[in-house]
Amino acid sequence: MYGKKKTKITRLDIILLLTLLVGVVFIVYRVTVGLNYKWNWGAMVQYIVRYDTETKRYVPNLLLEGLFTTIRLSFWGTILAIIFGMVMGFFRISTSLFKRMVGRSYVEMIRNMPPLVFIFIFYFFISDQIMPVLGVDNFIRSASPGTQKFFGIILASPELFAATVSALISLGIFEGAYITEIVRAGIQSIERGQWEASYTLGFSKYQQMRYVILPQAIQRILPPLAGQFISLIKDSAIVSVISVQELSFQGTQIMAATYYTIEIWTFVAALYLIMTLSCSLAVERLEIYMARSR
C-alpha cells in the first residue's frame, strides 16, 4: 500500500463495537428469558463423544461421526467434481460443436437449479435406476470384511454405502458444473500471444496445451478451485435430505430428540466454520506461495 498505515482506532470503531456487544447480549437475553430457553451445554457433550462400555474407551458419537462423514463427502466429492469439471471444461473450449454443446448444456442446466432440487431429482429419478446397474450394493455386501472395513474408514459402512455413493455422485455432478467454468475461464485467460508463439514454433495442439497453456492455466485455476472446495463443504449439508448421516443430518436428529436447539446448531455451525476456515487459511498460504515463485 502507499506508505505505512498506522492502525488507528477511531470513535466510530468503538461505537460499532459497543453496538455489536449490545446486540449479542440482547439476543442472548431474549432467548433465555423471552423463549424461556433452558441452556444446557453440558448435555451436548454426550452427543459428541460417549463412553463405550465394551471397549472401555471414549468413542465418537453422532455429532463427531457426522463430522467425519461430512469430511469424507467433501473430500471425495471434490475429487469427483474436479474430474467432471476438467472433462467438461475441455469440452466447452473444444473445436467440436457437439462437445461444446454438451458442455454448455451441462453447465446451464446445473447452475440454474437450486442444489436441493437437483439432489432430489438425482436421488429419486436417477440414482434409483443407476445404483442397481452399477452393482454398488452387491459389491460392498459381497466384499471381504477387510475390504468392508477399509471402505468403512474412507467412505462409509456397508449399510450406508449405496446412499453415500449416490450423494457423492450428485455432489460431484453439481459442483462439477462450477468447476467447469473455472477451468474454462482459466484456460481462456491465457493471452493469445502464448498460442501464437507456440503455434509459430511448430507445436501441435496437444503440445501447446501440455507445455505452454495448461501449466500457466493451472496456476490461475487453483485459487478459485480451492474456493469451490470450501463451497462444497457447506453444500454437502444438502445431502441430509436423502438421509446421508453427515453433520447437518445428525444435528436435526439430535434436535428432534432433545430440543437442545441452540446449543446443537451453534456447535454444528462452529464445526463447519472450523472446516471452512482452515481451508481458507490453507488457500491463502497457497496463493502467497504461488505469487512468490513468479
Partner: protein, 250 residues
C-alpha cells in the same frame, strides 16, 4: 514437388486477399516475391495490412484467396505442408510472447526438443550458442519477468532461431521497447541480415532499413503503394501517400 535446383524465390505471394469480419479489407490482390537472403522491409500506416501480410506467411491468418508458397511448399489445407512451413518460418512478435513459466534456456530448448526432436544435450548446446550470439548468455537461468524488454526480445529472437528457420519474420519487433533498448535488438537483426538470413521486417526504423534492407514496400489499404530500395524512398518517393507517410516518420 520441391525441385533440387535452387529456387529463385523463397517466398511467393500471389494475389492474396483477406477480409476481416465487418468488411475490413486487410489485403487486396497483394503480390510479392522474396529471394533467398533478401531483407524486405514493409512500412505503412496502421491498418495498412502489413502485419496481416506477415501473419499470413506462416498461417497465423488465413487468406481468402490467392496463393502463398514458401520454399516450394504451398500453404494449403495439407497439414504436413503447414507444419513444414511453420518449422521453416520463424517469427518475432512485438510483445515478445515468451513463456513466462519457463526460464530463458527452457524457452529456447522447448521447441527444439518438441519440434526438431533434438536431444537435451543438442538443444542445450544450440541454446547457449544462440544466447551468446544475441549477447545475453548470463541470463540463461533467469525467468523472462526478470529481463528488460530488450533482453526479452533478444531471447525471443534466439528462440525463433533455435529451429534453424529459412525465413525470419519480424512484426514491429522494436515498437514496444524503450528507446535505449531498441538499438541492442536492431543490432541482432542487422547481424542476422548480414549473415544472409531471409527476413521480412515490419518496422518504423528507417535507419535499420537504410543499413541492411534490399527492398522496401510501402503499404496502404491492403495494397502495395510504392516499392523500391531505401534510397529511392529517401530521395525520390513518387506517390503522394508515400510522401505523406514518410514525412510523419522521418
Amino acid at each position: 514437388m520441391q525441385g533440387q535446383t535452387a529456387r529463385e524465390f523463397i517466398i511467393e505471394v500471389d494475389k492474396i486477399n483477406k477480409e476481416f469480419p465487418g468488411g475490413v479489407r486487410a489485403l487486396v490482390d497483394f503480390s510479392t516475391q522474396v529471394r533467398k537472403g533478401e531483407v524486405l522491409v514493409v512500412i505503412g500506416p496502421s491498418g495498412s495490412g502489413k502485419s496481416t501480410f506477415l501473419r499470413c506467411l506462416n498461417g497465423l491468418e488465413e487468406i481468402d484467396s490467392g496463393s502463398i508458397v514458401i520454399d516450394g511448399i504451398p500453404l494449403d489445407d495439407n497439414r504436413k505442408h503447414r507444419l513444414e512451413i511453420r518449422k521453416e518460418v520463424g517469427m518475432v512478435f512485438q510483445l515478445f510472447n515468451l513463456f513466462p513459466h519457463l526460464t530463458v534456456v527452457e524457452n529456447i530448448n522447448l521447441a527444439q526438443k518438441l519440434v526438431r526432436k533434438k536431444t537435451k544435450e543438442e538443444a542445450a548446446e544450440m541454446t547457449m550458442s544462440l544466447l551468446k550470439k544475441v549477447g545475453i548468455p548470463e541470463k540463461a537461468n533467469n525467468y523472462p519477468s526478470h529481463l528488460s524488454g530488450g533482453q526479452q526480445q533478444r531471447v525471443a529472437i534466439a528462440r525463433a532461431l533455435a529451429l534453424m528457420p529459412k525465413v525470419m519474420l519480424f512484426d514491429e519487433a522494436t515498437s514496444a521497447l524503450d528507446p535505449e533498448m531498441i538499438g541492442e535488438v536492431l543490432d541482432v537483426m542487422k547481424t542476422l541480415a548480414r549473415e544472409g538470413m531471409t527476413m521480412v521486417v515490419v518496422t518504423h526504423e528507417m535507419g535499420f532499413a537504410r543499413e541492411v534492407s534490399d527492398r522496401v514496400i510501402f503499404m496502404d489499404g491492403g495494397r502495395i503503394v510504392e516499392e523500391g530500395t531505401v534510397e529511392h524512398f529517401f530521395t525520390n518517393p513518387q506517390e503522394e501517400r508515400t510522401k505523406l507517410f514518410l514525412s510523419q516518420i522521418l
